[in-house]
């Protein structure tokens, strides 16, 4: 007998969150206010994502949690343990085996299927926030589709850096209607926002939930003469040799040595198990 209700939150709270999720799915990209609860973790650690996951989980689900693509970082490990303890659900590190994936700042390299749900942790859901501090005004701008200001941010990028230098949290337009912050995923992941799985975004401190139903049209904003570009480090993964994945740069010593590895640890592991070898992979089972 567990001392916790299933997935920590009480049933009424989960119903309230599910209503917000359903509304978000009905209006793709629209930020639905919800009564965010105090969670046993600090704001900024994924309180929004955890609440959305808790409301979405069923006892039959298999949960995967990633932080910057990795299954083994503090944030991912503690949230995974949290749900192991409070919901007693099965957990996995394998993308294909998971039914719900909670993520911070990445979309898994492997394509998701229609049977999977991706839950994002969102720090600041309002894409217009840094240019327009007033919430009243930004809501009005969303309501009236006045999105010129979003391009002012991109204009400033080009004026200052010669190109659109926004590399993460790159604003997108959903189904030709709402401009949405895709959470701080690298813009490399933006094209993957059009996917088969359901995507749910939870911002705990800001008390907003929004969503993308499967196969929703998501367009990254740009200028006609400065089109949107995906960027990644121009290297191959040092461990698995992948040339198409998003890479982390790892500093090896204080003499400038560095290596690039897949940020998606599960993708990298699967490739190495399939026999792929990168330039810096050792003879034995590196990182296994």
């Amino acid at each position: 007998m567990s001392d916790y209700n299933f997935a920590y939150l009480d049933e009424q709270t989960k119903r309230m969150i599910r209503r917000a999720i359903l509304k978000g799915l009905a209006i793709p990209g629209y930020q639905v206010p919800f009564a965010s609860r105090e969670m046993p973790m600090p704001y900024g650690w994924g309180t929004g994502g955890v609440q959305v996951s808790a409301a979405t989980l069923t006892p039959d689900d298999t949960l995967k949690v990633i932080d910057q693509g990795a299954d083994d970082t503090t944030n991912a490990v503690s949230i995974r343990k949290f749900f192991e303890k409070t919901a007693k659900v099965a957990v996995t590190e394998r993308t294909a085996e998971a039914t719900i994936i909670q993520t911070r700042h990445r979309i898994p390299e492997e394509d998701l299927t229609e049977d999977q749900i991706l839950v994002y942790q969102v720090p600041i859901p309002e894409p217009l926030r840094f240019l327009e501090p007033s919430e009243v005004e930004t809501r009005k701008m969303h309501a009236l589709e006045e999105y010129g200001l979003m391009h002012v941010k991109l204009y400033e990028d080009i004026a200052r850096h010669g190109e659109i230098s926004t590399a993460y949290a790159y604003p997108v337009k959903v189904e030709d209607r709402y401009v949405m912050d895709p959470s701080p995923i690298p813009k490399f992941d933006n094209p993957k926002l059009e996917m088969a799985g359901i995507q749910l975004f939870g911002a705990g401190r800001e008390q907003r939930i929004y969503a993308l139903p499967p196969y929703t049209r998501v367009v990254s904003l740009d200028f006609e003469d400065h089109p949107f570009e995906c960027t990644r480090a121009q290297e191959d993964c040092g461990l698995c040799g992948a040339g198409d994945s998003y890479l982390d740069e790892v500093i090896m010593d204080d003499a400038g040595a560095r290596m690039f590895v897949c940020s998606d640890t599960d993708y990298c592991r699967a490739r190495r198990e399939a026999g792929h070898r990168g330039a810096m992979a050792g003879e034995g089972e590196a990182f296994a």
Binding site: G148, Y155, A159
Partner: protein, 262 residues
Amino acid sequence: MKDMSVQDRPLLRVEGLTKFYGGRIGCEGVGFDLWPGEVMGIVGESGSGKTTLLNCLAGHLAPDAGRVLFDLDGEAVDTVTMSEPARRKLGRTDWAFVHQHAADGLRMNVSAGGNVGERLMAVGARHYGDIRASALDWIERVEIPGDRIDDRPTAFSGGMRQRLQIARNLVTGPRLVFMDEPTGGLDVSVQARLLDLLRGLVREMGLSAIIVTHDLAVVRLLADRLMVMKDGHVVETGLTDQVLDDPQHGYTQLLVSSVLQV
């Protein structure tokens, strides 16, 4: 503007515009016609209701009574009762508003070019090169050196900020400009330069403008017609020179005689 069918009707017709603040009068029963290419000055002392009137005209305040009819494609549309999206659209296309404090009308954390370009992007411009070219053109037209285009307004002097605000407002070619004390808070030499610039732009673009000010010298230079307000009411109207040189109402006489002579 060249079209005669447009010329024979006023650009803006105001009828019985009234705004109360609780029991106090903001402005009451104000009515006038503004014709294309005409500059109207509204003068009066502090608290006379001139800024209230301007905000009601520009849709920033909801008046309690009256109509503000704007000539939109040959049809007089009441901007008081029109939908908010339509009014906001008007505010970034056909209308412009120059605030007394440039910081209210500019985005201080966005470069000068971005400030001017915002209105273009708000009406759908999506070509960076074109937006930047128009922004540069306008920045130079208001006598700001072109190499300051990427500086933020926080790095500008008061006079430059005010000129930048004007550039930002005029870039989309509005037909009607509302100005609230555009020269307030500037020293006299900077004021003179700004007035010179404004006068040039108004003539060149055939703009209609409504200028609220307490500075009679400003209206003498810019305005064709004058409206004198006191305690929320219009006490005298007429051609600028006529009102200033031969004031009829006691208050106007007081106002004109109060100007300090150097």
